[in-house]
Subunit: 198 residues, 2 copies
Amino acid sequence: MAFVTAAISVSADGYAAGINLSADKPFGDGPVDQLHRWMFETPDENKEIIDELVGADAFIMGRNMFGPIRGEWDLSWEGWWGPEPPYHKPVYVLTHHARADLAMAGGTTFHFVTGGIHDALDQARAATGDGTIAIAGGAATLNQFLAAGLVDQLTLTVTAVTLGAGQRLFEGVPSLRLEQIKVRPVSLATHITYRVVR
Amino acid sequence: MAFVTAAISVSADGYAAGINLSADKPFGDGPVDQLHRWMFETPDENKEIIDELVGADAFIMGRNMFGPIRGEWDLSWEGWWGPEPPYHKPVYVLTHHARADLAMAGGTTFHFVTGGIHDALDQARAATGDGTIAIAGGAATLNQFLAAGLVDQLTLTVTAVTLGAGQRLFEGVPSLRLEQIKVRPVSLATHITYRVVR
């Protein structure tokens, strides 16, 4: 049975992004650069967790994490990551708009899934067997998986800022019993890994 | 100039208490016992932070933290803590209803302040000089102090549960720039201390 993980950076008040997301500002307005400073400014110190982030056997993401486009696809958009995305594995993108598979350099293939979270998970499981499937974000997508009880392990990267408004992790998610299994404090954040107790 | 601190246990989704607080259930409904298991089940491991919690020179708390009573005072209520509260110092209780000072065994004196958060802080400063003033909670009171820019240092104790609803820390608080200055992971929680950047 595949193991479902997620890791997400949040502000100390629980937001994974600000408001008014756009192509120019994928994380929206406000001091949202604080959410990922740990990754960009101190990568050496965070090598283990960055390796984990991109080390799954398959990935599932929401459409907003794949791109800023709403409605019908602009087929020239191939994700935020350039010609060689860091995933190197199948990535299932949740969308209401069908699109042909998109194979990128380095082994990443984007599959566009119109059947919702269970459909995406079924496809990822079929591709990975007993492997690890990472819910790559954003918050709205992860919240759907958490609310449906489909996540086995969750890493919150708590960062040194509050946003006051934005895309809130756990919005609409009923109470979860967690077990704290690993804490990794680094200079600019604290990575807390929980097992979700069923 | 007095140094203003606060420390509060929150769920991983940012609630400091559940809903429906009452005399029988000071933290309300839901798995709220998870918020303070670290304190009650593993006190040895948390001695340093517990000492910090009660080690200030004066304390400010909201009325709900002092007791479950709303409206006019029932003078037989002397707080949740029994005859010798753990503060041993002046405690300023925010309330809309005047009440005479209440001196308890062990040096705790409750002062009832009707003039709001600035009045309480002025009184605490007058009593402590350059000492440390702790905003003891609950979330609604701490949110008022955070929103007014009056907190110098904040310790979040992030616990292994989500509540899905309740009294949310940072509700109504605008974006804050923080500096992570100390992280103390323990078995049942992670204590993260921030300096609030002005």
